[in-house]
Subunit: 303 residues, 2 copies
């Protein structure tokens, strides 16, 4: 299988430098929040009609954000929700994003054991995989032998991984913060991620395995940046979940690399945000996406 | 949305009583292990051709096992591996299994936060969902607020859930066995699962939320049966992973309910097993599936 031309890490670093920011736009389409006009007026909940609308919506967002940001992150759940038609739309959206020179992180939080993990890795990682992702989010609860097949495939295909370490939801502490020998569980997971990142680091200083760390826990984010010096951090929770530019600054290294900050709803459904709704509304929803993207870039820049 | 006619728990109990066993056949198609004849002789790795073969393979297995066992468990990874065509095949396989009066557990180990978890639940749970599962496997690392949306939907749609508690892989202890206040993490997860099972229990005595506990750790299986008296246990690891009938007996309650025992490769690729290969081979692979299924039923019966 052909591979991408350079490691995910170096492609990501180049893209961040080229675009001048580390914003990731989350593609989380939801049928009840789509701008008017994307679904036909008479619409009988046929999932293929919705899937086509998701494709149009996401590709239009890609048109707007491709000149501005380095990365997009389709959330697989919303495509899976529509059945096979949704999955066809997902594949088209990923291909379209790649053709627009965006890196694509597939947010699936996949996990399984042994040869089943190999199947997930084969499915999602690399330009010529079934879904064509540059990177995939994965869940660590099954242990490192469940992560190893993902790492092997990611190395072979110049792809990337982001393992859940400290997630952005209010209840993430229930298991992740439990104290094991006096330290929280997420430290133990972080140390394993860092070990894999060190093993696979290239001349960017970062490895194949990164970590998901929520913007909603800024202290832990700072602590985890120090603890995983070779791991890219994918930081969700910015914007509608409450994370601010101040909160995420500690995720970056002193070259401004090492992290990408995701925002989904605040950007893709910007036409519904207070202030934005009056300025843009449904008719100019793409302009709202652009304004929201530029606003986020400026907020991160100002820090 | 219409719902199934009774709770997952009561449908499962009825199916186990009707079939007289608690065997779950795992549908894990792999293209390099398919019986000869299912793929055309000249075959250029076109994923839709493979997807059609997976559909034929799984539906033939369903024809064989539907009179014998109560449950099948398609492993989503292998269908996702083929891209959109694989997902179309998955949907057809689930519908075919349902039409043969089998219960269908979708093994996706899904997890996400808030409204994204809602989307996964909506996608997979219930007869009229996009994929039509009777139940779904889920991963708990994100915390109970990430599980709650799955529970809400499962209750509404008379569907079931199986949360990963103690998985069957050799490295499952890396995080799951870590001691928190002197007890392993999987106890803490189990206690949360049991609480949700108690809350949602019906007259079977079992709730909407069950647990995945590997056959490869028989002591922990016995301990977890006691610890989660209201949770169905989905027990993988029987057969090719090394679990025996002896190992899984402790998973059952004294009525012979409370657990389903999964076997995948030992049944669906039985034509390749030593002994079976000479008796059946590729030409009689369906007879090999039947013999392997009956063998497993007998092994569990003999205990």
């Amino acid at each position: 299988m052909p591979v991408d031309s350079a490691s995910f890490s170096s492609r990501l670093a180049t893209a961040i430098r080229t675009k001048g920011n580390a914003v990731c736009v989350g593609l989380d389409p939801r049928k009840n929040m789509l701008p008017k006009g994307l679904l036909p007026d008479t619409w009988f909940d046929e999932t293929d009609v919705v899937a086509q609308a998701y494709r149009t919506f996401c590709c239009s967002i890609i048109d707007v954000v491709a000149p501005l940001v380095p990365v997009v992150k389709p959330q697989l759940a919303f495509f899976e929700q529509l059945g096979p038609g949704g999955m066809r739309a997902l594949k088209k959206v990923v291909a379209y994003a790649r053709s627009a020179n965006l890196l694509v992180i597939l947010d699936g939080k996949r996990a399984d054991i042994g040869s089943t993990a190999e199947a997930y890795a084969d499915a999602y990682l690399g330009a010529d995989s079934a879904w064509g992702g540059d990177a995939l989010t994965i869940s660590p609860y099954l242990g490192m032998d469940s992560i190893a097949p993902f790492v092997t495939t990611a190395v072979e295909r110049q792809a990337g991984l982001f393992a859940l370490v400290k997630t952005s939801n209010p209840g993430s502490g229930m298991f992740q913060d439990l104290k094991v020998d006096g330290v929280p569980l997420y430290h133990t997971v972080a140390d394993r991620v860092e070990a894999l990142a060190v093993e696979t680091a290239d001349d960017t200083g970062y490895g194949v395995v990164g970590a998901v760390v929520g913007a909603t826990f800024p202290e832990q984010l700072a602590e985890l940046r120090e603890r995983m010096r070779h791991a890219w951090l994918l930081v969700p929770g910015f914007g509608s979940q409450g994370g601010t530019a101040n909160d995420v600054m500690a995720a970056f290294d002193d070259q401004g690399l090492g992290a990408i900050i995701n925002s989904s709803r605040s950007i893709i459904f910007a036409h519904e945000r207070p202030g934005f709704d009056a300025r843009f509304g449904h008719a100019k929803w793409e302009e709202a996406v652009e304004a929201a993207t530029r606003e986020m870039i400026d907020q991160l820049d100002a820090r």
